[in-house]
């Protein structure tokens, strides 16, 4: 989850770098793997920090204030960290959680599910271990359970709520962002997950039209997109893609909506299509897709997001 810079122990969101955490007798990561990942990350970061610096310069010079072609272009090319909070929150009104609804209790089992996930939400993040921030996370997930009883709690929302909190800081505004992100997709998280099932069918249509070679492997191996990439949509790519890529996707998602879930999912599958076509078992297929989501292609967020070569647009 660490976004760098590579020589720091902790990034600006509180994520610890994987190479500073000391291996214990119980837990260690293969040093050879870690070293090769670090080389990859360093290389990426050297290139990417030039892009970040250039974008920051552009934003400082022409900070776009209104929705329009320029704002759109600027958002797609990445909102600098310094402006992210302001740009994300600009059009999100505070949600009023009325006193009557907040006095309705939710069930013990919802409360229990939220509580068991708290220590398991980004254990590599130092800020979330600060008691007051941990309680904010609990309160925001509880508020969501009260506000949207049809959901209560669904695993995965813990990651979304935590990233909102880490990025926005303030509890009530992070709760606004959380609700803003969840309300258009309530049915992803309800008991039947009908919204997720619907969107997986839509993605399958797109894949069968534009990536027939991938679609035929999925059919032959009898693996549904729900199993393969359902988590991408449920967690809005958190814990599947590198965190910097997640932030860049969220820039677009918050500005333009869920067309970006489809665009990114499609582009990732397209990047992996040759490897997917070579799969002979469902295990191999799952592994291929998982590895691709942490590959150099997934890390290289700028080209993943700014590429224009697909036919998925809001009109569809």
């Amino acid at each position: 989850h660490f976004i760098g810079p590579p020589h720091d122990d902790v990034d600006c969101l509180g994520f610890e770098s994987p190479w500073t955490s000391k291996p214990t007798t119980e837990w260690s990561v293969d040093p050879a793997y870690l070293a090769s990942f670090r080389r990859e990350f360093d290389r990426f970061h050297t290139r990417y920090s030039e892009i970040l610096a250039r974008r920051l310069g552009q934003w400082q010079m022409n900070y776009p204030r209104e929705r329009g072609a320029m704002m759109h272009r600027y958002v797609v090319k990445g909102v600098p960290m310094r402006y992210r909070k302001e740009v994300w929150m600009r059009n999100i009104a505070p949600f009023v959680i009325s006193p009557s609804s907040s006095s309705l209790p939710f069930s013990d089992s919802v409360d229990h599910s939220i509580r068991i996930d708290l220590p398991r939400t980004f254990p590599d993040n130092r800020l979330l271990r600060v008691p007051s921030i941990g309680s904010s996370l609990y309160r925001n997930l509880s508020a969501l359970a009260l506000h949207i009883p049809a959901i209560g709690y669904c695993q995965g929302l813990n990651f979304i709520a935590a990233l909102c909190l880490l990025l926005i800081g303030e509890e009530s505004r992070s709760r606004d962002l959380l609700l803003f992100l969840v309300l258009p997709r309530v049915n992803y998280y309800t008991a039947t997950m009908s919204g997720l099932i619907r969107d997986m069918r839509v993605l399958e249509e797109i894949v069968s039209r534009d990536l027939p070679e991938v679609h035929s492997i999925l059919t032959r191996l009898d693996v549904g997109l729900d199993l393969l990439v359902g988590k991408w949509f449920l967690c809005l790519f958190i814990d599947s893609l590198p965190m910097e890529t997640v932030l860049r996707v969220w820039d677009c998602l918050i500005y333009e909506g869920d067309v970006w879930l489809f665009k990114i999912a499609f582009r990732l599958l397209r990047k992996a299509k040759k490897r997917i076509a070579g799969c002979h078992s469902s295990d191999q297929l799952l592994k291929t897709v998982r590895e691709m989501a942490s590959s150099k292609d997934a890390m290289d967020c700028h080209s993943l997001i700014t590429t224009e070569r697909d036919r998925i647009s809001k009109g569809e």
């Binding site: 119980e26 039947t192 997950m193 099932i197 009898d222 199993l227 359902g230 002979h280 295990d283």
Partner: protein, 215 residues
């Protein structure tokens, strides 16, 4: 990859098995998998969303086994997507936390669900995890063992943290699956083709029932 259909051969058999870990959230499903496959325990484990899997090659009773272990999210909601995580499994490890009586109720639910969806072909193990926390234990081991016997499952106890019984658990499961595959009527899972046919059937049988439960 040839299998001896008579079951008399004891060497050079190759099997491909899928085992799924099911159970309430935070009972230690992922930790059991990581302990067995990577020999490690991470006290700071992240919650599993949907499913993840690891594979391991091992030899049991002269047979080479390619074992895929599927780990699933604990929350029941995730099973609204249907039997996508456990279909095609030859074995299921139904895990509960010996310090949490509610997690044992979830095991009972899973026994019913799997028997209904996969029938008698699936080998069930009921696993009491976190036995290192003996002082806060609330589920009686003999009661759990009695329940397992009643429903035709094997009972084992483990601690992923202290590495108690984990290797043994997976080896027992593999050896049970080998025995079943050698004498069983369907030999599902020994080839990809066989598994696929099995899955198709399960899917058709299962969907209406899931619908009823939700309404």
């Amino acid at each position: 990859a040839a299998m001896d259909p008579t079951g008399a051969g004891t060497s050079n058999d190759e099997f491909k098995f899928k085992v799924v870990l099911l159970g309430e959230g935070a009972v230690g499903k992922s930790s059991l998998m990581l302990r067995y496959v990577q020999g490690q325990f991470n006290p700071r484990h992240i919650s599993t969303i949907q499913a993840s899997f690891l594979s391991k090659q091992l030899t049991v009773e002269g047979s080479d086994i390619d074992l895929s272990i599927w780990d699933t999210a604990g929350q029941e909601k995730y099973h609204a997507l249907g039997p996508i995580y456990y279909r095609g499994s030859q074995g299921a490890l139904l895990v509960y936390d010996v310090t949490d009586a509610k997690s044992f109720d979830k095991v009972k639910m899973w026994v019913k669900e799997l028997r209904r969806a996969l029938g008698e072909d699936v080998i069930l193990f009921i696993v009491g995890n976190k036995v290192d926390l003996a002082d806060s234990r609330t589920v009686d081991g003999e009661m759990a063992r009695g329940f397992a016997t009643e429903v035709g499952a094997t009972y084992e106890e483990t601690s992923a943290k202290e590495n108690i019984g984990v290797e043994n658990l997976f080896e027992l499961m593999c050896s049970a699956m080998v025995t079943r595959a050698r004498v069983g009527p369907s030999n599902r899972g020994t080839t990809n083709g066989g598994t696929r046919n099995g899955r198709r059937t399960i899917r058709i049988v299962d969907e209406p029932t899931t619908g009823r439960k939700c309404c």
